[in-house]
Structure formats: C-alpha cells, structure tokens
C-alpha cells in the first residue's frame, strides 16, 4: 500500500508497509496515483506489475506531461519498488506482536493523587476524583507499586514510572518515596527506571522543582495556550483562572531543565479550534517543546469535538505545520509532539503492531493500589485488572494484549497504521463500541497529523527547492 497526497504545495508518497517517504514532482505524482488506482482492489502487499493501464489514463498523462516524462517517472517508481522503497509487501502484517520480553510489564502510571487544586472543565479525571472520592496515595503504596513493576518486568531493562493524577504534587511525599525506592531497587535488579511527572505547574515550589529536575527524565507541564483559552477551562477551586500561576511555575521549571526533557502540554476543545494560535503563544513564551491534544472526554458535555468540527481541526493542523516550519526556518527551535515522527530511527515493526501496550505492558495504579489498563480507564467498571497487592485478572490483560493493529478491522485498510499503532483503547471503547474498535474522528486527526509530520520532514530534507 502506498499513500500519495498533496499538502501545502508538496507531493508526497509514504510506503505504508516499509516506511519510506518520497517527494515527487507533478509528473511522478500523477503517474504514481494512476499506478495506485490500477492496483486498487488487490490484497494489500500483493506483488505484481507496477504499471499504467493502456488506454485513456496513459493517454491523458502523456497529453499532460509528455510521453517521455511519464515513461521516465514510471521507471523511477519501478526502481523504487524493486529496491523495497515503494509497494513493500506486508510481510509482517498478518502476525501478532511478540511475546516474551515484549509482553511483560514496562511502565506504570502512578495516580498518586485523586485530588486536584484545579477544576478543569474537560478533565477526564473529573476534578481529580476519577469517579470516586478524593484520595492520595500513601508513600508505602507508591514504593510497593515500584517494587511490583520491577518484579513483573521480566527481561526488560528500561522501565518507566509517570506520576500523574489528579495533581501529583499534592502527594509529593509519595512521589519522593517512590523515586528513592526505585532508584535503590532498580539498580540491584539490573534495571533502570525513568521517572516522569505530569503537573499543572500551579503549586510547584523550589523544593519540588529541584527534586523533579534532579530525578525526572521528563516533566509534562499542563498549559493550554492563550490566557483566555487557558482560563476558560483550567480554573482554580474558586473559579478564578490558573494561567498566571501555571505560566510562572512552568517557566521556572523549564528554566531549570537545561538540556533535560520537558513538554508543555495543552488541550484544545471546540472552543479553540484555532489551536495553532495557542501553540504559537506557548512558543512565544519561550517553550520549545509543545504538545497540544484534542480533548479526550465529554464529561463536561459542551467542550467535546464532533464531526462538525473536523474540517476546522484538520485545516488547523495544516496551519500549525506551516507555522512550525516557518519558525524553524527563522532559526527558532520548536518541537510539536505529534509532528516529531522519526523516519529513520523509529520503533521496530513489533512496537508499531503492539501500539501503546495498555493493559499489559502499561498500567495505571490508583491510590489504594488498584490496577487499571491505563490512566484513562481508572474507575471504569469492569476494567479493574486487580491490584498490586492481590491477583491480576489475566483474562482482562489478555484481552488487551490480543487487541492490536492486526486484529482491528478498521486499521487493516488504513495507510497510517504503522505510525498510529492502532489508536487509544479508551477512545475506542468510548466511541468505537469496544477496545477492538476505533474512534473515527480521532483517526481522521491522526492521519492528518501524520501527513503534516511527514510534510515537515520533506521540507527539512531540502524540500524548499
């Protein structure tokens, strides 16, 4: 399968099963489209002729571009196919991702605080309470969760723990205890744990920031963008906006990081479909690593994205890609998370097939030590995997493990599948009828983000000329 598209003045082809990317002139683009059409209906990855059907299609191409040019472009397409960089057969497409090391536990999201100092309108954590009462994780539970991760990690060397919530700085004693325990125990087991924290940045004090900077591999700071956008959703308990405090905290934290990892992460809703302006605002504040994500939930009933918003959202991603490119061309550093596709050093096929690993390699832990497939499932009836102290529901874990790119019907025909990995299980459940479904709206956004990400790569590789 080949995905050929035009975006922002460029003609681009992505070889779906191999990952190659090509920039084409208008002749090659038209010829490739005709070749793709001629192959239509064949099973994905089937070999066979790369050619143009005799008759009106070939004649029209020759009339438009000249016979010699069309023949030349066709030869180039055939050459790339022979070299394995176009129409790659889906050699691994039938198989499920691997067992062994790849299926043991790798990462935990520790919901150290089911409580929050903010009351964000779109929070899937429902003001930090996850459908239950407000709760904070005891340091002992946090330490035991890290011990559980090390024990269950099989042959894996690199493990991950993210402190999440609610707002994890409200349970900073648990954060510190887990880090100290993890640093001491992982080494003994021949492993390494990368710690990360996701915070609203409002309550960060010098002590916390020093600790985070010293021990965390990555810190994700929640900021939505322009003040009016941020303050419309991210409000304090008294209803006042949190923008000023959050920006102050985020700037101080990022100022400490030096070369260490961070992301400033925002959420866009149907109220700021012009979210490229929010990314620009965050960049203007001096943040170089930005992620802005579509709102995940509709708890609030009024902020969610629907079919009617899609054209604006897709167009906005294009605007954003252009804006990122223009900033980079001026010498500014700006990374937008979903445009950071790695074409050459990206993950292997097994990872692309397996996706996020929720429910077996990645799980969330609640303050009482309960286990859920991921942070988005916390509190959802029927989705409690068990606990770090008791048994785990092997059947439920298997259901997640055996739901992947190769079993999702919608993904089989999707050109973006090896960039996407099969989407989010929680969105699939909410909008696609089950974890084996897909979230159609999310898929449209994902495909556009991949198109934009690859377009940026084309531009950076000298695509201006």
């Amino acid at each position: 399968m080949v995905h050929a598209y035009r975006l922002l003045g460029k003609n681009i082809a992505i070889d779906v099963n191999g990952g190659a990317v090509h920039a084409l002139d208008d002749v090659a683009y038209d010829v490739l489209r005709a070749v793709i059409d001629a192959r239509e209906g064949r099973p994905d990855g089937a070999g066979g002729e790369v050619g143009l059907p005799e008759g009106p299609v070939a004649e029209a191409l020759s009339a438009k571009h000249g016979k010699a040019c069309v023949a030349e472009a066709l030869e180039e397409i055939r050459g790339l196919t022979a070299d394995g960089d176009l129409f790659t057969e889906g050699t691994f497409w039938g198989g499920a991702p691997g067992a062994g090391v790849g299926s043991s536990l790798k990462a935990l999201c520790l919901n150290v605080s089911h409580d929050c100092d903010l009351r964000c309108g779109y929070c899937f954590a429902s003001a930090g309470r996850f459908g239950g009462g407000r709760a904070r994780m005891a340091p002992k539970v946090a330490m035991d969760a890290v011990g559980f991760l090390i024990r269950k990690s099989g042959g894996r060397r690199s493990l991950e723990v993210d402190f999440f919530g609610g707002e994890p700085t409200l349970a900073f004693d648990a954060v510190k205890a887990a880090v100290a325990h993890g640093e001491a125990e992982a080494g003994k087991a021949g492993k390494e744990i990368r710690f990360t924290i996701t915070t609203n940045a409002v309550g960060l004090d010098d002590g916390m920031m020093g600790f985070i900077n010293g021990h965390m591999d990555n810190v994700v700071l929640s900021l939505d963008g322009r003040k009016e956008v941020h303050d419309a959703c991210r409000v304090m308990a008294d209803g006042s906006g949190s923008y000023d405090a959050a920006v102050r905290g985020a700037k101080a934290m990022v100022g400490m990081r030096g070369g260490k990892g961070y992301y400033v992460r925002g959420t866009y809703t149907n109220r700021n479909l012009d979210f490229a302006a929010d990314v620009a605002h965050l960049a203007d504040l001096g943040f170089e690593r930005v992620s802005v994500e579509p709102v995940a939930s509709s708890w609030d009933g009024g902020l969610e994205l629907g079919e009617a918003h899609l054209p604006a959202v897709l167009l906005e991603y294009e605007r954003l890609a252009l804006a990122v490119w223009e900033r980079r061309r001026r010498g500014e550093r700006l990374e937008f998370f979903h445009f950071e596709v790695d074409l050459e050093g990206g993950p292997c096929a097994a990872k692309r097939m397996a996706g996020c690993g929720a429910g077996y390699e990645y799980m969330a832990v609640t303050p009482d030590g309960g286990l859920y497939p991921c942070h988005q499932f916390v509190g959802m009836e029927g989705y409690r995997i068990g606990g770090i102290y008791g048994e785990q529901d092997a059947g439920l874990m298997d259901a997640f493990k055996s739901t992947n790119l190769s079993t999702k019907a919608d993904c089989a025909g999707c050109w973006a599948r090896f960039h996407c990995g099969g989407g989010c299980a929680s969105s699939s459940l909410r909008y696609g009828g089950g974890i084996g479904g897909t979230y159609a709206l999310g898929c449209e956004m994902e495909r556009k983000r991949v198109e934009c990400a690859v377009w940026l790569k084309v531009m950076e590789s000298g695509g201006e000329g």
């Binding site: 990952g19 894996r156 959420t267 074409l343 050093g345 990872k351 390699e361 996407c420 989010c424 990400a453």
Partner: protein, 62 residues
Amino acid sequence: MRHIRTVARSTYGKGLESKGCGECRSSCQSACKTSCTVGNQRCEGAGAPEAEAAERAAAGRA
C-alpha cells in the same frame, strides 16, 4: 532520479525476527496521555542509531 527524491528509505523490517526488544518508551508516557501514536517513538534497542553511536564511542571508534 529526476522526478522523485527519496527522503527516507524503508526501515520497518528491522526487529521482526526478535519480535521487538521492549526497551523503547511507552508511547502514552511521553507527553500526550490521550492520543496514542507510535511513530514518534525512537528505537532504543541495540542496533538503534543512538545505541550504535554510543557503542562506537565507548569502544573509542567514534
């Protein structure tokens, strides 16, 4: 080639035999926490560009 410029060659074949080493980052931990994507993760196993560079450097062959 006159009409097509290759920006990146095919790479997905690697790691198939081993079924993945399991060392790369969990995608949802990176930044997003909502929209899963695997394409922007880096391969961190032995044989990955970074790992190879580190090995060369360690062996004094950088």
